[in-house]
Structure formats: C-alpha cells, structure tokens
C-alpha cells in the first residue's frame, strides 16, 4: 500500500489542497464568473483566464477520484451481513406475548414494506435484514469520471479534429476544402448536383437542401441529401448544411474584348489588368417594383446590383443590371460594360472530423447511471432482531439507518412501528 503523504510536508499540503472541497467551490465560482464575461466576449474561453481554472478543476477532480474511489469501491463491495446489521442504530423496541407466533406476520409485514428480506440465526437471536443502495458511494465518482471523459473528448477534438468549409456551385466538383484559411485535400471528390431553398407561404424559410454526389476512385458514386439538422457523413468527414447564396454569370466587355465570369454574391472579383475590381452585392431572381396606385407589381426579371471600383482609393460606383434590359449597359461608368447572363446557387457546407465526439458521448452516457446512484439511490439499511424471552414470548429490536434519505426513512419507521407490534398486517 502507498503511504499517504504526511500532512505537514509540502507534497502533503499540496495534495490536501488539491483534494479539498474549498478548491472545488472556488474554482466553480471562478469558472462561473469567467463564463459570465464569456457570454459577451467569446474569446475569453481561449485565454488563460478560463484554461488555467479549468486545468486546475481537472486536477482537482482527478485528485478527488484517486483519493476517494478505492474507499467507495470497498464500501460498495461490502454486503450487509447479520453481524454488521446488529451494529445499526436502534430505532424501536417491542415484545410479543407467548400466545402469538410473530414469525409469519413479521415476515409478511417486512416483505410488504421492504421487499424480499434475508434471514439468519445468530446464537439465540433471529435477524431479518435488508439493504438498498449499496452502490450509492460510487455515484459521485462515476459522475466525476464521466466529466473527465467528456473533457478528454473535448481535448481530442481540439487537437486531432479538423474543421473547415466547402463552398460548391451547382454542378461544381471539388476535392479540397478550406480549413483555417488553408486548402486541405479530401481523398474523394464532392459534387453539388442541385441546391434548393424552399419557403413557407408567408416567406419564412422552410428548408435548405443540397443534393450531393461523392465520388471515390474504384467505387460507385454515392448520392446524398444534406439538409439543416440532417448532415451527411462520407469518407470519415461529416458535411453540414451551413449557408448558401447565388453565383451570378456575367459577360464583361471592354471594347472588342469579351469575357465570361462567374461571381459569387459577396466576393470581390479582379478584372484582367488588376486595376479594376467589382463585387456582386445582391441578386434577385425576379425583381418586382411596386405598381402604380396599389395596382399589380411590375416584374422586371432577374436583376443584380454590383459595386465597381478602379483602384482602392476611389469610391465605388453602384451599378444595377437587368437581364432583360441589356441596352442599359451604355449608362455604366468606366471602360467596362457588364451584362447579366444567368445565375445559380452555391452551397456552403461545414466539413468536420472530430475523433473526440465518441468520448464526449460516452461521458454523457456514463453520467446517467452516475446521477442515478448519486441522487436517486440513497443507502438504506434495516434489521429486525427477535430474541426469545426467558419468561416466554418474544422481544424485538428494530434497527436501521439511511443517512441521506431521512424523510423516507422516518416515514417507513412510522409505518413499521405501527404494524410490527401487532404481529404483522391484519
């Protein structure tokens, strides 16, 4: 057996501090306060302000686990024996006359109140005994262990996991995704066949879905539908529907030169030569203008609004393009003429691989029996000791304890006290 460090030496004091509840309470309060700051400034969770108390909290949990678990295991392996039952505190005392044989009535009463009871002869005494919640001491340790498992999963995810995003136009195939600003390869290809945005009659969004095809060399292509709340897993990565937008097809003319460009809404595009830039700000599949005096609206067809600038010091011009009115291009500033050709959707998928998730889930599942043992399964022990009186008849002592369920214990004591002296249920 290892010797516990003495309480005055430095390691001894350190150990006592690490296993102290005061440290736990202080850390819980610090973590709560730092988190309060974190509701407004999320960055705080990546700083020492949060990570140091969290690390100490993990040490505290581990130390308490090391200190208390062996004892809890020992205690929960000790079944209630007749000898141990006789040591329980006495709660009531009564006797029966010679004329009454108490055994059948008592057994019936105990069985009705407690369930099956054990019986044993000790010298001249007969002991009925019963226990529940023997494993209760393990409860808190199971809970703490599951918290450590969850935190382990979080660490694994942080250091071994990959997160990024994949943006695909309809019809586009890609073998890379972007993670932390860098391109990362996939060992398969992903193609977006179709994207749909569906709406309720009142205009609120109803569903966003991407129809994907995954192509792996040597395998049949696999179709998959990715929706919000309904991700797709392929080749070790999980894809989540996260955003979408339009990609606008433009024809750009400069004198006799003509150029076909694809510009996703919101992204800056550089024109050949490097001096002029533009960005599509908005795309409408069908622009509707209000009709005169509340009459039916005027439908102008597909429309786009873009910002165009010639060098970064200049203010941009805002240009409106109508697909059905190409002649308006003559009013555009600068040497370029923009024409709206077509548009399609692009879909943004979150790409993720997190080896820690199963640890986290395992911790979640372990937490449930932990809570059950810790809170819903208090230890309760009873014993009824019968002894033959020298003068005939029987003496009885009722013993019992339930340190963490006093109310239930008292109720049961009252019921047993009412029924046992009468020799069992009527």
């Amino acid at each position: 057996m290892t010797q516990a460090p003495s309480s005055t030496s430095l390691p001894g004091r350190l150990w006592r501090t690490l296993t102290s509840l005061r440290l736990t309470l202080v850390l819980l309060i610090i973590l709560a306060l730092v988190s309060l700051v974190g509701t407004v400034r999320v960055q705080v969770f990546d700083t020492a302000w949060f990570l140091v108390p969290l690390g100490l909290f993990v040490l505290n949990l581990t130390a308490c686990l090391i200190r208390g678990l062996p004892r809890a295991v020992r205690r929960s392996r000790q079944r209630l024996t007749p000898a141990a039952a006789l040591e329980l505190p006495e709660r009531a005392r009564f006797s029966w006359p010679e004329s009454l044989n108490p055994h059948p009535g008592v057994e019936k009463a105990l069985h009705r109140e407690l369930g099956p009871v054990q019986k044993s002869n000790e010298d001249d005494r007969l002991v009925y005994f019963w226990e529940r919640g023997r494993f209760r001491p393990l409860g808190p340790y199971v809970v703490h262990l599951s918290l450590l498992v969850i935190l382990t999963g979080a660490l694994l995810g942080k250091f071994l996991g990959v997160q990024g995003s994949l943006s695909l136009n309809e019809g586009e195939v890609s073998q890379n995704f972007v993670s932390a600003g860098k391109e990362k390869p996939l060992d398969f290809k992903a193609r977006l066949d179709d994207f749909q945005a569906l709406y309720y009659p009142n205009g609120a969004p109803r569903e966003f879905r991407s129809d994907l095809i995954f192509i792996k060399p040597g395998q049949a292509p696999q179709q998959a539908v990715c929706r919000v709340n309904d991700p797709v897993t392929f080749g070790g990565f999980t894809f989540y529907q996260s955003s979408y937008g339009h990609t606008v097809g433009l024809e750009v003319k400069n004198g006799d030169n003509s150029l076909i460009l694809e510009a996703p809404v919101g992204r800056t595009v550089e024109l050949p030569g490097g001096r002029a830039h533009f960005r599509v700000l908005e795309y409408r599949p069908d622009l509707v203008m209000p009709g005169e005096q509340g009459g039916p609206g005027k439908r102008l067809g597909p429309a786009a609004r873009l910002a165009y600038w010639e060098d970064s010091n200049h203010h941009p011009w805002i240009i409106v393009l109508l697909k059905n009115r190409p002649e308006l291009a003559d009013q555009q500033p600068g040497p370029y003429r923009f024409f709206l050709k077509d548009a399609k959707f692009f879909s943004v998928l979150q790409v993720k691989r997190d080896p820690g998730v199963w640890w986290v889930y395992a911790g979640f599942i372990l937490l449930l029996p932990g809570f059950y043992l810790a809170f819903l399964r208090p230890t309760e022990r009873w014993a009824l000791v019968l002894r033959r009186k020298p003068s005939g008849g029987w003496d009885a002592r009722l013993l019992g304890a339930a340190p963490r369920a006093r109310e239930a214990f008292q109720d049961r004591l009252q019921r047993l006290q009412a029924i046992l002296p009468k020799g069992g249920p009527a």
Binding site: P140, P231, V360
Partner: protein
C-alpha cells in the same frame, strides 16, 4: 379557443395560490384540499390547451406539406410540438411549475409550496397571454429536429424545479428575518430547497446534454459557446457548488437558501436575459 382556456387556467392558478395562502394562515385543511383540487383541475385544462395548440400547429404545417406516410406523419407531429417560440416556452414553463408543485405537494404536503407554485405559474401564464405574441409561426429549418422535444422539456422541468427551490429559499430567508410562527420549520424548508435543487440539477444536466447532442447532429459542434450555452453552464456551476457545499461540507440553512436565490437569478439570465440581450441560436427575437 386555447387562449380562453389558458385565461381560465391563469385565474385558477391564482385562486389556488391564494387559497393555499389562506389555508396556511388559518390552518384550514378543507380550504387546502379544495385548493389542491383546483390546482389539479387547472393543470388538466392547461394540459388540454397544450395538446390543442399542438394539434393546431400540426394542422398548419400539414396544410403546407402533407405527410406522405406514417413515419413522415410521426416526424411532423414531433417537430410541431408547441415549444418553438417564446410564448410557447412560457406556457410550458408555467405547466412545469404547476406540475412540479403538485408532485412536491404530494410528497411533502407543505401548503406554502402551493402558494409559491400557484402564484409563480399564474404570473408566468399571465405574462405570456398579455405581453407576448401568441400566433403560431411556421417552424424554421434550424428547429426541425426530434431533439427539440426532449431538449426543451428537460430544460424547462429543470427551470421549474429551480423556481420552486428559489421560492422555498426566499421564504426561508424572509422567515429567518421575521421568524413568524405557523410557517413550516426551517429544517423542512431547507430539505425542500435541496430536493428541488437536485431535481433541477438532474434535468438541467439532461437539457445541456440533449442540447449538445442536437448541436452535434445539426451543426457539427456539440459546444460552440453560444451565449445560451455559456449561461446554462454558469447556472450549472452554481448549482453544482450548492450540491457540493451541502453534500460534502454539510452546509445548511441560510447559505444554501442564498445559493438557491442566486442560482435562480442565473436561470432567469439563461432563459430571458440571453434570449433578449444577446444574439445567437437561442434568441427569441424575430
């Protein structure tokens, strides 16, 4: 229809709460059993209203996209559970309060619980019907999940249990100040605070876990420091501190009552503060 029933329920909770108060002040057992019956009846009507709204919500969604087969029908029924906006959450919070009050009354037969629970439930419901938009909105894509049901139910049962612990804690502190007789002795109230806090803690934990699993399946992150997540973690820390102080250190009485009050402030911050002050997935704005 639903709003009329809920109006009646609000009134019934209020009257039940006041009757419990009368029963407490004049120790009248018959008034108490009448109040108990009234609370039970109101809870039944409340349950009915909840299911009526569920049906209405389902009908509205089925009119847009009728389910094709049995599984689609079941899916739509689960998705349309009326727990998806602020109004519905308040109605359900009030239901949880009344339900847990009845449960605790059954276990402990303490009249003051009826006062606390009845008045809190009535207040919540009155605020829901007077101050909040009650129209049934179509469900946004982010909430279309089987996890919505279990996540919201566990969270709100937790909130309601913390509400009762708060009520008991407040009464304990007031009583410690004035020491009026007739109200139950502090040891019992102290145990009630602890019991309610345990139930709340279990349900809050389940709520956080189901939320994490949902977030993982929906967005690929089981934890993303969304303000609501952070606030619920703060609440969890506070009640964890309460349970440790009580179970390991044996703290009782006033410090535990204070922790129950502070903890409920954190619950309110989680439920209302975050939803209205800070943007995020859980915001009730728009």
């Amino acid at each position: 229809m639903t709003s009329q029933i809920l109006g009646g329920v609000t009134l019934a909770y209020l009257i039940a709460g006041l009757l419990f108060l009368a029963a407490l002040l004049w120790s009248a057992p018959r008034v108490k059993s009448f109040a108990l019956g009234l609370l039970g009846g109101a809870l039944a009507a409340h349950t009915l209203a909840f299911f009526a709204r569920w049906v209405a919500s389902y009908d509205q969604a089925a009119a847009v996209a009728p389910p094709a087969d049995y599984w689609a029908w079941l899916q739509l029924v689960i998705h349309q559970v009326p727990l998806s906006n602020y109004y519905e959450s308040l109605v359900f919070f009030s239901w949880c309060l009344a339900c847990l009050t009845l449960f605790f009354l059954h276990r402990y037969a303490e009249t003051f619980l009826g006062v606390v629970g009845g008045l809190l439930a009535s207040l919540t419901l009155a605020y829901a019907s007077l101050g909040v938009d009650s129209s049934i909105k179509p469900l946004m894509p982010a909430l279309k999940s089987n996890w919505l049901l279990i996540h919201v139910i566990t969270c709100f049962l937790g909130y309601a249990a913390f509400g009762l612990a708060f009520g008991a804690g407040l009464l304990y502190l007031i009583q410690a100040l004035t020491s009026r007789p007739k109200t139950p002795g502090p040891p019992l109230m102290d145990r009630l605070i602890y019991r309610a806090a345990v139930i709340g803690f279990i349900f809050l934990t389940l709520g956080i876990l189901t939320g994490a699993v949902w977030a993982e399946t929906a967005w690929g992150r089981y934890w993303s420091w969304d303000p609501k997540e952070t606030a619920s973690l703060i609440t969890w820390f506070i009640y964890a501190a309460l349970l440790h102080a009580r179970l390991v250190r044996g703290w009782q009485g006033r410090p535990i009552a204070w922790l129950a009050v502070v903890g409920f402030a954190a619950v309110l911050f989680t439920y209302l503060g975050v939803s209205f002050l800070l943007p995020g997935l859980h915001s009730y704005l728009n």
